[in-house]
Amino acid sequence: MRISTSTIFDLGVASIQQQTTTLVKIQQQLATGRRILTPEDDPVGAARVLEVSQSKALNQQYDVNTGSATSSLGMEETALESVGNLIQDVRTIAINAGNPTLDHNNLASLATDLRGRYQELLGIANSTDGNGQHLFAGYKGSTQPFSESSPGTVAYNGDQGQRLMQISPSRQIAVSDAGSDVFMQIKNGNGTFVTAAPVDPVTKISTNTGTGLINTGNVIDPVKWAAVADKNLTLVFNVDNLVIPSVTTYDVTDTSGDSVFTGAPSAVPYPHTYTSGSTIDLTSAPPDYGIQFAVEGAPANGDTFTIKASTNENIFTTLHNLITALETESGTGLANKLNTALTNLDNSLDRALTVRASVGSRMKEIESVKSTGEDLALQYEQTISNLQDLDYAKAISDLNRQQVGLEAAQKSFMKIQGLSLFNFI
């Protein structure tokens, strides 16, 4: 078989070029550290790298979000802690005020102290984060949530929105609580019904003359109480001084004046005899209301107490009522109001602590999501590295092999093209 001279040259050059091309490619890989220089090298791998990079970036974003969520919740937690401490302090003052040896001036100075705490509470409720957005305003972040229109009357100007944040692909977590939840919508009394001593509608001063103190009461059967049509009850006392010792009797009437025990209009003598501290029971028919409460002390003739369904009372009203009581009341009237105030303060504290616990548990969840996210980040790095990074050991050994191949091709080419008959003519 013949071989032409140009074929010898062409083949030699072609194989040298081929070796050089492969060598240059390996050199590029070594220089960039990437196995995939262009999508041609591994199309599926190249596409996968892009996808995993997006997942990695998203994961990083979620990490940033958890930081932001933690800081928002942290601020809220600090505020709630202050609120809890404040309410505790106010409770202490209220309990102190129950000391019968305090005179009007002592009470007035306690009241002044409380006025300061009231303003402090208003300030905490209106607190902002570092960017001028109010913590407890719901969605209306730029609006101040709590404003006092007249002393003791605080209106809520925010809404009930709860801001959410995406901390993982499937989890949005609340990073704020609406002020209405924390400060405004707190049930008074025992949560179901509230007892109180009557006050003059204008002066708001107690009208009872005796020393009867009514407690908060308890709900024995909530279903039965819920079924009661007329929840506006009055406890009336009658003291018969004509006998010695005097006999005190009581009755419980509804709005129309009928006794709930008999069903007929209430009239003296009342059906039940009163002993200080014993329970007034409305749990066995009649009536079967499922509630009971107790009075202790010595009510005067004609003294009454009201029992009503619980309504929402905000913490500012509670504080304001307490301050007014310290400034205007004394004796049993003060004692009854202190009882009411303490009950409501407990409810407020309860609410603040509940929200704070929920914030705490959210922060805990965020932490665990964050640590899962960190593990995921490592995994993504690993996947991308496996797809994209060069195996240096293999590449360097390939480089050496290619070099040898290239040198061999070049040397053999030189040898062959040096052989010609013309050298001998």
């Binding site: 013949r2 071989i3 032409s4 001279t5 140009s6 074929t7 062409d10 083949l11 072609a14 262009t38 999508p39 041609e40 090298d41 591994d42 199309p43 599926v44 190249a46 596409a47 790298v49 892009l50 996808e51 990079s53 997006q54 970036a57 998203l58 974003q61 940033v64 979000n65 932001s68 960017n131 001028g132 957005q133 109010h134 305003a137 719901g138 969605y139 209306k140 972040g141 730029s142 609006t143 809404d159 009930q160 929105g161 801001r163 959410l164 944040m165 995406q166 692909p169 949005q172 704020s176 209405s180 405004m184 919508q185 819920a226 309504t311 929402n312 010609s420 008959l421 013309f422 003519i425």
Partner: protein
């Protein structure tokens, strides 16, 4: 004696010619297309003498070209396919390199943009966060446009190369025609084959084959008739025919190849007939890879803009206004702007001869999730030569989408297909009018950011549902019922009554009524509610969930979200678009659609390169076979030099002896 002298002279002559031919071979050893030449010696006719037949020496009959038609043809066939693959490979490498660096492609910009959206979701009222979202949107748009610009540059380069290739073909054809003339004249003179002219012509044919696949028919007078494609003649005798490179009728921005027949009329050549060689590679790359890649990128851009806009228009900005369009897309007039629905580009066929706006159909991308990456061709027939009505062809698979053709009045909707809504032109077209529809080609070019005022980023939702704290005479709800924050129903625009105040009042624990307080209408008098399963309530364009156990008299309100600057509900939904499958019939997210572009370019490049390598080795093999017959081997020629030199010396010596024999004869007479 004279016989011996004559024999000697003939030998000398033959050796001389042999040396000349060998020298010609040696000097032309590297000439491309050269076939080595040999002399054909025959013995002269013997003369009948008394002693028998005496030979009269040698005669050189001809100088023969060592040429095998079939080996040469094999090389050319392999070569034309190899040129096709190499050109395709060189072109697609541009695309390959464009998407090679993951940091220079679309992905980082896309991720940055959504990071900006997440930032706004985390701090909805913060102006710096909003500004950074708008800035990263700008950066992403710039990246789209930069990538698109590369496509445009490749396209323009391709146009130039098509023109250059056509020019080369024309030049080769002219030269072949001229050589045909010279060969015919030379052969007619009857003195053998003009080998070098033939070599030149064969070389030209070979070069022509690299540009486009040609077929050669040998004529009896020695001319080559060259034809290409589906039989269009390129050279007939000494007459060349012209190819032209001119703007396509369907799309003037593309250069197509035309054929100028006798009489000056130009026929456009179908791409299928130009399917090999350099020119074939260029056209195939453009139609198969470049168009698809640019359309795919455009689809990602339009898909992102449209889905983002749709969600943005369901939100509320810092001015308590319903969100506007966030991204600009191309509108019906062809201009980019804050258009609610993107439009496709319509290019009327040049033969329509009517460029007034009303004369073209309008095509909008009404459902971006169903849009494909193909272009379409709409044509109209009035019934004279084919069934009347509008027909639509999808160019990627040549599927006919309106069968039978649809007949509608001017301005009416023709149909909805592949996510496109096609409306007939307002002026009735004439028979044979056609338009090319490019739904996504210009998507990446036309995308823009419509909002630069940070207050207009719609992060909040326009409605909020709340527990009514003024129920029960002002003391608030008794039961444990809860209501979710509320969601606006897609698609935009929002319901006109969306922000009306609506009250959901519980008549008893298992029934509620829904009343629109703004219009004082009862939307539902009594709806059954189960505390164990809750209920989904949807009116006036919003939807909310009720859960828990409300009591009689409890109520909930849904109303406008005035001053809700810390609300991030819409921003969360916008951020969630990054991972939702909004393209390709609900199977691909924006990132995966882009990854598909990258991987399909990679796959095609590798495919072409592997095939090109295989074809290159095929070319090499056939070249080796051809060269082993027709190529010059310098060692062989060196041996031939020696041979002819010795033959010359021997013949010369013989003449010397014949001469001295004659001298001897002459000396006899002394």
């Amino acid at each position: 004696m004279s016989g011996a002298l004559d024999v000697g002279i003939s030998g000398l002559r033959a050796a001389q010619i042999g040396l000349t031919v060998t020298g010609h071979n040696i000097t032309n050893a590297s000439t491309p297309g050269y076939h080595r030449q040999e002399i054909v010696q025959t013995a002269n006719t013997p003369v009948n003498t008394g002693a028998g037949f005496l030979g009269t020496g040698v005669n050189v009959d001809s100088v023969k070209r060592v040429y095998d038609e079939f080996l040469d043809l094999r090389v050319q066939t392999a070569q034309t396919q190899s040129s096709y693959l190499e050109t395709f490979s060189a072109q697609i490498s541009q695309l390959n390199n464009m998407v090679a660096d993951p940091n220079a492609g679309l992905s980082p910009a896309l991720q940055q943009f959504f990071q900006g959206v997440h930032d706004v979701a985390a701090n909805p009222a913060s102006v710096p966060s909003r500004q950074s979202m708008i800035s990263s949107a700008d950066a992403m748009v710039t990246r789209f446009q930069a990538l698109n610009q590369r496509f445009v540059e490749i396209r323009e380069g391709l146009n130039a190369q098509v023109t250059a290739s056509v020019d080369m073909i024309n030049s080769y054809a002219r030269q072949v025609a001229e050589l045909n003339n010279r060969v015919v004249i030379a052969q007619a003179s009857g003195s053998g084959q003009p080998n070098d002219l033939l070599d030149m012509r064969d070389n030209l044919i070979s070069e022509l084959n690299k540009e486009i696949n040609v077929t050669v028919v040998r004529q009896s007078d020695g001319a080559y008739n060259v034809s290409m494609g589906m039989g269009q003649a390129l050279v007939v005798g000494s007459q060349p025919y012209i190819l032209t490179a001119q703007p396509s009728l369907d799309d003037p921005s593309r250069i197509d190849v035309g054929y100028q027949a006798g009489g000056g009329q130009v026929f456009y050549l179908q791409r299928e007939s130009l399917n090999s060689g350099n020119l074939g590679g260029l056209l195939a790359f453009r139609a198969e890879s470049l168009d698809t890649a640019q359309n795919s990128l455009g689809r990602v851009a339009i898909g992102l803009a449209q889905t983002f806009n749709d969600q943005h228009r369901l939100g509320q900005d810092l001015n308590d206004a319903i969100g506007d369009v966030f991204f600009n897309v191309m509108g019906p007039s062809g201009a980019s702007g804050p258009n609610a629905v993107p439009s496709a580009k319509i290019i009327p066929n040049v033969n329509n001869n009517d460029l007034t706006p009303g004369a073209s159909p309008t095509v909008t991308l009404s459902d971006v999730s169903k849009v494909t990456t193909s272009d379409y061709n709409l044509s109209y027939s009035d019934g004279s030569s084919s069934p009347a009505g509008y027909s639509l062809i999808r160019l990627s698979d040549k599927a006919s989408l309106f069968t039978p053709p649809v007949v509608v009045a001017p301005g009416a909707q023709i149909g909805v297909v592949d996510g496109l809504t096609i409306t007939a032109p307002t002026t009735a077209p004439a028979n044979g009018y056609s338009w090319q529809i490019q739904p996504t080609r210009y998507g990446a070019r036309d995308i823009g950011v419509a909002i630069h005022d940070t207050a207009k980023v719609a992060a909040a939702a326009p409605i909020i549902s709340q527990i009514d704290n003024s129920s029960h005479g002002g003391t608030g709800n008794i039961g444990t019922g809860t209501i979710s924050a509320g969601v606006v129903n897609p698609p935009p625009p929002t319901n006109a009554a969306l922000q009306n105040k609506v009250t959901i009042a519980f008549i008893d624990a298992t029934h509620f009524s829904v009343t629109d307080n703004t219009t004082s209408t009862v939307l539902a008098a009594s709806v059954v509610y189960s505390p164990t399963t809750g209920a989904t309530v949807s009116y006036n364009g919003w939807t909310t969930q009720l859960n828990g156990a409300p009591e009689t008299g409890d109520s909930f309100t849904i109303g406008p979200n005035a001053k809700g600057v810390a609300d991030n509900r819409n921003a969360l939904l916008l951020a969630g678009l990054q991972t939702e499958n909004k393209l390709a019939g609900g199977t691909a997210s924006f990132q995966s659609a882009y990854s598909q572009i990258v991987s399909s370019i990679g796959v095609k490049t590798r495919d072409i390169n592997v095939t090109a390598q295989a074809q290159a080795s095929l070319v090499k093999q056939s070249q080796m076979a051809q060269q082993s017959l027709s190529g010059v081997n310098l060692d062989e020629e060196a041996a031939n030099l020696l041979r002819y030199q010795q033959a010359y010396e021997a013949a010369g010596k013989m003449m010397q002896i014949a001469s001295s024999m004659f001298d001897t004869l002459l000396a006899l007479g002394q």
